[in-house]
Amino acid sequence: MRKSSFFKIGDIQIVVLLFLLVGLFLLMSFLTRGKLLEFQSLQAVAFQLPLLGLLTLAQMGPMVSGGIDLSIIATANLVSIIMALSMTRFFPSLHAPFAILLGLLLALLLGVVKGFFVALVSVPAIIATLGLMIFIRGVSLVITRGYVIAGFPVDFLFIGNGTVLGIPTSFLVFAAFTIFMYILFSRTRFGLELYLFGSNPVATLFSGVDNRKVVFRTYLLSSFLAGVASCVMASRFNAAQADYGESYLLLTVLACVLGGVSPSGGSGRVMGIVISVAILQVVATGFNLLGFSSHLASALWGTILLGVVLLNRLFLGKN
């Protein structure tokens, strides 16, 4: 890993992203005639951002390792369904904290399964998580028969819809996990090994790192974060279903790349992810206020991603 140049590139990217965020924010404020700057709109951004943010953090680890996790949305949905069943049918007397604990345990279990196939059997991540995505979604469908499970207790709904001092609770959850990920990725041995592995697995192995352990933990972490996202998602929608939020899958990959994670692994910072998620959310909320179709937003996301990729290529040279 070219450490010095890596940090330089990272810094330039963050500055570019910040400019892009501010520029788009001003543009959207101008186009909506200041409507975006109203308290309600800003709060809407803060309510909607955490879900995409947490899912993107879940996608980040696998992408830094040079892999990808296509099963995060399926994982989040299955976890929501189990939490929903726990609260509405199995253990209604045990309240939300127990359901959340159960959900997060399930997320970790799914992480073990993913880690097993990717790290120990060495199935390419894209194929293993593709198969598991279909499998997990199938399990959700078998459990729910395609129906929506709705009607959660008030204390659970607080996560997605409540506010603390005017700040959405889900935003605080996202902020907490952003700090957690920042520390984990830039201050711990695991983070260092993950970046090393992503940029050169063979060199990492020769320097005495247990590659399998690193990869296994990466998918465990990713599933855990998908589980956290699931709490926010179920609580926000006040419902759980087998195929909620499928459009978020490609969006998390997009947000990671936009935020500076190289698809071939080894780079990307939590800071970049947060800014890129904010960019996508400002565009989405702005378009919503302008009354544009969400499909136009998705076309624009595709264009933004291509633009960033091309700019990286032009200004930062060959990979």
């Binding site: 040079g66 990808i68 296509l70 196939f117 059997v121 060495s122 199935v123 390419p124 894209i126 194929i127 293993a128 593709l130 198969g131 598991l132 995505m133 279909i134 499998f135 997990i136 979604r137 199938g138 399990v139 469908l141 078998v142 028969r145 395609g146 592995f197 697995p201 063979v202 192995l205 590659n211 990869v215 499928e246 490609l250 990959v253 997009l254 790349v257 698809p263 071939s264 179709s293 499909h295 136009l296 937003a297 998705s298 076309a299 624009l300 996301w301 595709g302 264009t303 991603l305 291509l306 990729v309 091309l310 290529r313 060959k318 990979n319």
Partner: protein, 337 residues
């Protein structure tokens, strides 16, 4: 060495297909009737045709997830034109989606070559772009007003038999086009210079570059090829369903990739055959058909499909591991990632 692995994958696959067919026939004698088999081949011809394109891209070491959007855009433009003008010619209708597919594929090819970014990312972006623009312009409206010739064409068969209940059946024109495209792809990969080059680039891009291959031309070719087949697939899909819904095809990308991978193509490039891909599509089709015949709840389909993909990928990863261990020793195996 690669040759041997490939052969093995296909033999396993053939054995699984035969065993599964026998099992399903035992469960429900309806399975192994010509009527059911012809139906199965007809209904999966769209899947079969686009999987051939994905195979070629995978062999070149790339991957394409945007072909579903390409097929949708191609069939939608065709639908709008033929339902507005009602020109009663299938040939003219067919000539609309094909160049559209080719053009969108060419854009992918150029982007993949010039950005040097993982094709998954490029094609995710173009998927979002093509599909987003289409949905924005079309507002998701369905089209089901076609000229009579377009409707009649869907009933065309190679030959016609009568079932015991007096219902005519036979090999559909779409099954035939799938087989013909399969043969073309086979010749292209096996006997034309471009085919050898595609395997070479997928096996080792840097080596191919240093050997003087024009990487741009090869990558442009493979993405144009899948774009072209997506255009043809868009036409076939519209014919099979006799309506065009903008959201009918998008979302199938992973099924297609799964079929190609099941058929022995590798995500690392350089490996894959038309014959294996055909078996991969057939396996998926048989499983879905069998589950329907066994009256299993549709919700179990995905559980079973997912398990099969993970199992197939695990077996192929394990084989690769054994192979490397045999060739280079245990330490090399640790570097698999």
């Amino acid at each position: 060495m690669k040759f041997q692995i490939r052969r093995q994958t296909e033999l396993y696959l053939l054995a699984i297909v035969v065993a599964l067919s026998m099992f399903l026939t035992a469960m429900n004698p309806k399975f192994l009737t010509l009527e059911n088999l012809f139906d199965l081949l007809r209904n999966n011809s769209f899947l079969g045709i686009v999987t051939l394109g994905e195979l070629v891209v995978l062999i070149s070491g790339g991957i394409d997830v945007s072909f579903t959007a390409t097929a949708t855009v191609a069939q939608y433009v065709m639908g709008v034109l033929i339902s507005r003008t009602m020109v009663n010619s299938v040939l003219l209708a067919f000539l609309i989606p094909v160049p559209i597919g080719l053009a969108l594929g060419a854009i992918n090819g150029c982007l993949v070559y010039y950005t040097r970014v993982n094709p998954v990312i490029i094609t995710i972006s173009t998927l979002n772009f093509y599909y987003g623009v289409l949905m924005f312009v079309s507002k998701g409206t369905w089209i089901y007003k076609f000229p009579p010739a377009f409707r009649e064409f869907a009933k065309l068969k190679l030959f016609t038999l009568m079932s015991s209940k007096g219902i005519p059946f036979g090999i559909s024109i779409f099954t035939l086009s799938w087989v013909i495209l399969g043969i073309i792809t086979f010749f292209l990969l096996k006997y034309l210079p471009i085919g050898r080059k595609i395997y070479a680039v997928g096996g080792n891009l840097e080596a191919a570059r240093r050997a003087g291959f024009n990487i741009f031309r090869i990558q442009l070719f493979v993405y144009c090829y899948i774009g072209l087949l997506a255009g043809v697939g868009g036409f076939v899909h519209a014919e099979l369903n006799q309506m065009i819904q903008p959201n009918a095809i998008v979302g199938m990308e992973l099924d297609v990739i799964a079929a190609a991978i099941l058929g022995g193509a590798s995500v690392f490039g350089g490996v894959g055959t038309v014959w294996g891909t055909f078996l991969g599509v057939l396996l998926i089709a048989i499983i879905k058909n069998g589950l329907i015949l066994m009256k299993a709840s549709a919700y179990w389909h995905e559980v079973i499909m997912g398990s099969i993909i993970v199992l197939a990928a695990s077996i192929s990863a394990y084989q690769r591991k054994l192979q490397i261990r045999k060739e280079k020793g245990r330490f090399a195996e640790e570097q698999l990632f």
